[in-house]
């Protein structure tokens, strides 16, 4: 699968530090993600995976380091700037707009790519209405893409768990990302749902979107990712193709504890 990545660097961070008071949540983290690959991020609970996600999407401002995406400097930029340059994400604990319909959730995702402002909202000029129709159509097709079109009119809070996960992905895709960051998308899914999700992620990648993935399901990660990085105590302890990482003694130690000798 690594052959699908053409080696062009999409996202690059180096020397990233993030501290919360006395806690050094990320320490000198560096990684680079190539265009077109599925890049996995694993590590024990509390290793800093989600913190890194928050840094990469602008929710947390890193203390030091470098962060570029497509060559654009995104160090300490706000979330709406990060998403505008092409990074979108989902959340470990689903964060939909619960009292909006599934369709409206995806329509909010189009926000970053549309122009209409308050004057358009007041005067409803033809241009604004055309844009609104385009948003509507695009949102419908994204619901279709992730396979929940028939639930478009339901409130997000009433969707099944698996469908909420899919809706989050559709909403993220609505921002036209080049990099889609998925934080434990398979958490709480049964094997059938996990398998469907895997197919969806492969479809998304084949349609040209690079994927950064946090997941605990090791079997899923090994079968899906082109490369995997391992975090432990806020440091990157390994990186490579799945086979290398699986056999790396430091990774085994981080997950299982040190061997007796």
């Amino acid at each position: 699968m690594a052959n699908q990545a053409n080696g062009e660097v999409l996202l690059e961070i180096s020397g990233i530090h993030k501290r919360f008071g006395g806690l050094h949540a990320l320490s000198d983290v560096a990684l680079s993600i190539n265009k077109g690959e599925i890049y996995g991020l694993i590590g024990p609970n509390g290793a800093g995976k989600t913190t890194l996600f928050n840094v990469l999407t602008g929710l947390y401002q890193p203390d030091e380091g470098k962060f570029t995406f497509k060559g654009i400097d995104l160090f300490r930029k706000k979330p709406n700037v990060v998403v505008e340059s092409g990074i979108a994400r989902t959340f470990q604990n689903i964060r939909l707009f619960h009292n909006m319909t599934a369709l409206e959730n995806v329509m909010v995702g189009r926000h970053v790519r549309t122009r209409a402002n308050v004057l358009g909202a007041v005067f409803r000029d033809p241009k604004t209405r055309a844009e609104e129709a385009g948003i509507h159509e695009r949102a419908q097709s994204l619901l279709d893409y992730v396979g929940i079109r028939k639930h478009g009119g339901e409130f997000a809070k009433n969707l099944s768990y698996g469908d909420q996960r899919r809706l989050e992905i559709a909403r993220a895709l609505a921002t036209d990302p080049q990099l889609l960051a998925l934080d434990e998308p398979a958490a709480g899914m049964n094997p059938k749902e996990t398998d469907d999700l895997k197919k969806l992620m492969e479809k998304i990648r084949n349609d040209g979107v690079t994927i950064l993935l946090i997941e605990h399901d090791v079997k899923l990660m090994m079968g899906l990712c082109d490369r995997i990085a391992v975090l432990d105590y806020g440091k990157k302890i390994a990186e490579g193709v799945p086979e290398e990482v699986k056999n790396n003694p430091r990774v085994i130690e981080a997950y299982l504890g040190a061997s007796p000798d």
Binding site: N80, V83, E84, L96, V108, H111, V112, A121, E131
Partner: protein
């Protein structure tokens, strides 16, 4: 004359004004969980600026029919109140967005006092009569009297409120507002500019407030620099009654409060044998506030109260 129907009509008129003002409170609360106590002063500014603009216009020999003169006055006062609302948020609330919730409440009260005193400096602390420019022919309605002005106020309020609801439900800005009220950080990840949405919320709420202020002035025939306090408190009560943060609730709460107050005031004299007259009508609003806070703090249409305790 049927006193019940009459008080119902009066209540509907006052209630639709309360509803317009309550929308301003509830929109801001929905997004920031903040009670913008300066909103009553925005209403006052809307009324006072309109009166001044109208008197300057007619003094300088502009010869327009009465209603158009009022519209011209509104065209002056609405942009100014919008700018005021925008500025208040920037100066008094935005720097405190991450502060404990008591802090912006205090700056809200501070801004409210500042605006009131500025108004006293400009207009002196005297009531100004609202110029007699709008039609007020009386009509018979089921044994009661309804005037053109009253019909105008109710219809205009309904149109403005309907427009707001459509804006919130159907447009991109409205969707952004709802998204921000549900989850700010996720909305920002969708490219929603949070600060812009918050500013627009204040701007739109202030425009509604200015319209309501002119309605208050026209309805009672006068306006004064300290009027914002009581009208703001009543509209706040209406917003709480309907469920603060809920737009439909603000409308329902406003209309209901207006009717309770008017009908109550109409019967207060006869019931108490003349001890309390109708000028005690304010007690109804605050009785309602206390009862709602005791028995249904989430309001008629509100939800989620415990989660932010």
């Amino acid at each position: 004359m049927d006193i019940f129907i009459q008080q119902l009509i009066n209540g509907l008129v006052v209630g639709s004004i309360y509803a317009l003002i309550a929308l301003g409170y509830t929109m801001v609360y929905g997004i920031l969980q903040l009670i913008n106590f300066a909103h009553g002063e925005i209403v006052m500014m809307g009324a006072m600026i309109t009166i001044s603009a109208v008197s300057i216009l007619s003094g300088s020999g502009v010869n327009l029919p009465g209603p158009l003169l009022v519209v011209a006055g509104l065209l002056v006062s609405i942009p100014i109140t919008m700018l005021l609302g925008f500025t208040i948020e920037r100066v008094a609330y935005r720097p405190l967005r991450k502060a404990p919730r008591l802090a912006p409440l205090i700056t809200a009260i501070g801004i409210s006092i500042v605006l009131q005193q500025v108004a006293v400096l400009i207009w002196k602390n005297n009531p100004r009569s609202f110029p007699d420019l709008l039609p007020h022919a009386s009509h018979d309605f089921m044994g009661a009297v309804i005037t053109d002005l009253q019909i105008l106020i109710v219809v205009l309020a309904l149109v403005v409120m309907g427009g707001l609801l459509i804006m919130v439900e159907k447009t991109k800005l409205g969707r952004a507002m709802r998204a921000v009220s549900m989850n700010q950080s996720v909305a920002s990840l969708m490219g929603v500019n949070i600060n812009y949405v918050i500013s627009m919320t204040f701007v739109i709420g202030s425009a509604l407030g200015a319209v309501a202020g002119v309605m208050v002035g026209a309805n009672y025939g006068l306006a004064y620099p300290t009027m914002g306090f009581m009208i703001g408190l009543k509209a706040f009560t209406a917003a709480v009654l309907g469920g603060i943060g809920n737009l439909a609730g603000a409308v329902a709460g406003g209309l209901l409060l207006g009717i309770i107050e008017s009908v109550g005031a109409g019967y207060l004299g006869p019931i108490t044998g003349g001890v309390l007259g109708s000028h005690y009508q304010d007690i109804f609003a605050f009785m309602v506030l206390i009862l709602v806070l005791v028995f249904r703090p989430s309001g008629l249409l509100g939800e989620r109260v415990a989660e932010r305790a």
